[in-house]
Symmetry: D2
Subunit: 341 residues, 4 copies
């Protein structure tokens, strides 16, 4: 058993972390930090945890030494508080955007402000087990990527790795409303957000910078909010390189992901769910990946889907913790998702 704490525990990512960690057989939750609700019962904010826990939110000062701390605060809070948490915990897993880019200049461009701890930018291991598993085994500082970035990276990585595709790609990302968080504004009122097809970032979304970084390509992203609470789907448009063909693509995906516990290759000819779709992934840590090739033009479409609070956030973070601790990666993450839902 290790001792863990969640900072920013009243948010959606924080709540999902609590759900996973309270059900994790090797973990004891010793702190659920909320600046908004200190002293309040956790299940008053996360009603799905009723009868699961009697925990109350606490202030940051009340958290003592622990083994792993998860930071799920708003952006910018993590980089200013980071010293406090590295002093108290062996491992810090950050789920904010603060340490996702390793370049202060890129941070300034995409986040619009100076970084408060630029010396640490290069110290964080990106929390993508499929790309950085070896480094994650010893990682005391982990930065979990953005939900649409995870999907985008997993949708293309095997092909870039093998030089099958050109180095410019466009990502069309769709996301549910939970990505806006528990304190979102009027644009996220149900009457405004319901049934939306809302292009909130036609260009320049922060997650495109992460994809560019991890794949070493030039990535552009268009992000749209669609009607869903949970769920991200990222569609990648990329050109096959001369000589590459469909069977090379198939082989690349298979080789890369056949032993991955949380990436499933979806390659059915028929059926309603023949391409990846987040609807069947609610609460699960899977990222489903699929593709289609326009043989006439050599244009390739790859598709990834995940639950933004799970493989796109909290689930991914727990997987990183499992790796660091030498536990089975799937520990505490075995919920398969529902159908229908």
């Amino acid at each position: 058993m290790i001792r863990v704490a969640v900072v920013g525990a009243a948010g959606y990512i924080g709540g999902e972390l609590l759900r996973l960690l309270l059900g994790h057989p090797e973990v004891e939750v010793v702190g659920a930090v909320s600046s908004r609700f200190p002293g309040k019962r956790v299940d008053g904010v996360h009603p799905n945890l009723r009868s699961i826990t009697d925990l109350r939110f606490c202030s940051a000062d009340e958290v003592g030494e622990c083994d792993t701390v998860f930071l799920a605060t708003p952006h910018r809070a993590a980089m200013t508080q980071i010293g406090r948490w590295t002093a108290r915990a062996e491992q810090v897993i950050d789920l904010t955007g603060d340490f996702r880019l390793d370049d202060p200049e890129a941070f300034r461009r995409y986040y619009g402000s100076e970084h408060a701890a630029p010396h640490l930018l290069g110290e964080f291991v990106p929390g993508i087990p499929e790309l950085y598993r070896k480094s994650l085994r010893g990682a005391d500082l982990v930065s979990v990527p953005g939900c649409m970035a995870v999907a985008g990276v997993l949708a293309l990585h095997p092909l870039v790795e093998r030089g099958l595709v050109e180095e410019t790609a466009h990502f069309d990302a769709r996301t549910g409303s939970s990505g806006s968080g528990a304190t979102a504004g009027e644009a996220n009122l149900h009457a405004e957000r319901s049934g939306a097809m809302r292009v909130f970032a036609p260009t320049g979304h922060r997650h495109e910078a992460e994809i560019s970084r991890h794949l070493g390509i030039s990535a552009a992203m268009t992000a749209t909010g669609v009607e869903a609470v949970r769920g991200v789907q990222t569609i990648c448009h990329v050109a096959l390189r001369p000589g590459a063909d469909k069977s090379a693509v198939r082989r690349a995906f298979r080789e890369q992901y056949q032993d991955e516990p949380f990436v499933r290759l979806v390659a059915q000819r028929r059926g309603t769910f023949r391409y990846p779709e987040p609807k069947i992934l609610l609460g699960s840590n899977f990222c489903d990946v699929g593709y289609a090739l326009d043989e006439d033009t050599g244009r390739l479409i790859t598709i990834a889907a995940l639950d933004n609070l799970m493989k796109g956030g909290s689930g991914n973070a727990v997987q990183c913790m499992n790796i660091r601790r030498g536990w089975p990666e799937t520990l505490g993450l075995s919920f398969p998702g529902l159908h229908p839902a």
Copy 2:
């Protein structure tokens, strides 16, 4: 052409009023009052009005004399401002809760505060054409009832009128999220409200007091928010009186509503839409009414559905204006609703 103004024009009821009034052939909109957005373009807040109007919101002081003023402010603002508007306009149609009850004591009980203009409580004619048409013809002060109250009243009025049912009834009301308004709080965030079946008032909802008043019975209401943006459905449970039977019920509804332009009796044996359902009423001013009788027990179920922003609010208000002006009641209100939608 008459001159009209809408106060509280940036809200959902206000926006719907503007949509209707801008399309009304006998009306000129001379003011759209918003305390939040004075000077801002109306279509910046109500994007469905793009290319329909270049109007900008104004402050209350900028509205001069006019023929009819519609008050669509938050509750409590109408009763404190009422003097200002009666001084400037021939007719005031209030869509808030402030003048829906005629008894200061009932107001205190259901609204939790003293009434600011109790001497006017009895002066407002209730904006239910189906019950108060004659009075509405000369009404300079009109109070449009709550959306669930309109549905509840229309679901039962013909039967009470004819003495066919007992004088105690229970109303189970379901409503979409737009009823909470454009400035609703965290409980109405999409992630929280989506897919809800939320009992927000198991007992004591304000609209039950209105039903009791208009029908002269003892009404109780349970109100639940369900997944929809627009739409109210009210289900009334009541016992038939000895001697009353199904054909008497049928006759009562038919007699009462056959000439009503906006009440439709839904009495199909079969089909998906054989009972009233708000889904097909979006944007329309119809209230659909239906019923079913449990012949073994004499328990009667009557059902009414409407669009809360239309027959449950703005549409009803425009119908009242039409009556007062001697125009056809359906003027500007002829949109039939969509299927599917």
Copy 3:
């Protein structure tokens, strides 16, 4: 490890059974019977089970001896096939409507046909652990009740048991679309069903007969389909008996359910989720129960919410199996539900 089979495994209830049983530590799934898809991969129909199982559907004949068989066929198929399954399995847990009533006459009235195995009607123990736990410990024949009936029974049982309420109650039940099954017709097309508030059974719903049976009262139900895939909410309207009061109600619920692993009493004063709501129960086996009293009238509202495929079906069935086998009741049923979702 026991050997289990699911008959009707391609339906929604069948798929949920497979999900639970494949994740159950004491169970081996030896057959997934589907008359529509014999030979087809299970995960082709239930895409959430990809990478969880390589199982294929089989025909009934291919199922050999086993310990527990779950029947999740359409209504009427169970009563005609029952002999086959009792011959092959020690325990049969039926999830259809065929053995939910113990009276052939009531069956005829509510199901519109003669019962094919009336001699067995009294042999099935009702699958409601909260009422029939003792009998379930030895039950080789179990009939799992309807989803809305489970909710209705659990919403009222403690009060009836203690004589706190009158013996006539009305239930207003709301349900998602998955209750109509995987082969539903045109009324369940997305364009028709989306955003519905559809009174599909104003009176005479089959589940009301089950509530009457289990509570020994006269129950009437109005059933409405609302926008959701999973989820049932049942609101019970009942009158308190003279002498009963709010604290007696509170005590009754507390006493009855405090040790129940899957019934949670929801009794918050405040907060978005202060009354039971299925939204936070997706995939969980909880039934949440709450209430509100109109002190003026003595009218009591009790509310229950559950996931119709879980506590309203498959989860409840697995709980019954656990009881019969002497395992912890929560085995394989510990998923807490998601928030938000």
Copy 4:
């Protein structure tokens, strides 16, 4: 007054045509042909038309001479019946896919069968007023394009026309469920389709062929079903040509569309609805168009939104009729859409 008939009147496009035509001041509906429901009341299938019409469906044989016939049958039925309708009506407006392409070879490739009336392929004027208004003034044969094609064409036409963009473009189209029609199959059951992000045509969608034809470029489309009943949004990705810049783009859109009655340029800096979104277009005939430029890369995103049953089908067809008859184009099409909805 002209006499019109709708063939395929029981479908969603047919129902929308009836709604529009029954409310059109210059039109008398003399036939509503349905092979499925001859003799049945129209409002039994289209419940929004209750109290609007007493019309009954008829067979094709019962339709006599008329001025305009609208064909809203399934694909393939129009090309085999076309002779019958040209014999009876002065003008035929086809809303199926049968005459959307002018090249039999392209038809074979995209529709998978031989064309039954290839000699007529070139005779139909495409029903896009914004491109073919002059020809439509005298058009006795009109083929209304696919919903996603209309959006795609309008999103890019002004830029192609002025040579501002490269001649290869990718379209990411999202659509609601009503596009699948009133007789869709199991994949469109509510439980399966609700909350979907379903890539149903990653490559090779028929509508891409229409875009290529009308714009004279190489268009590729990825089509995804998202959660909505009505609504199409098409996002076009295209590269600016050297020398072209943002102000040229702005000017092009403004010049092209400033006098169009049903295309609105959405170009707000801020606000929830600053890019086109179908949510506010339900029932309206507007196509909203907007754009964003990634100045670093010269990659342009243009966005169009419409109601697939209106500007993407029936509304567009009525607009074409209005043009042919010399009436104001907006006649019968003035509903502005709802907010919120």
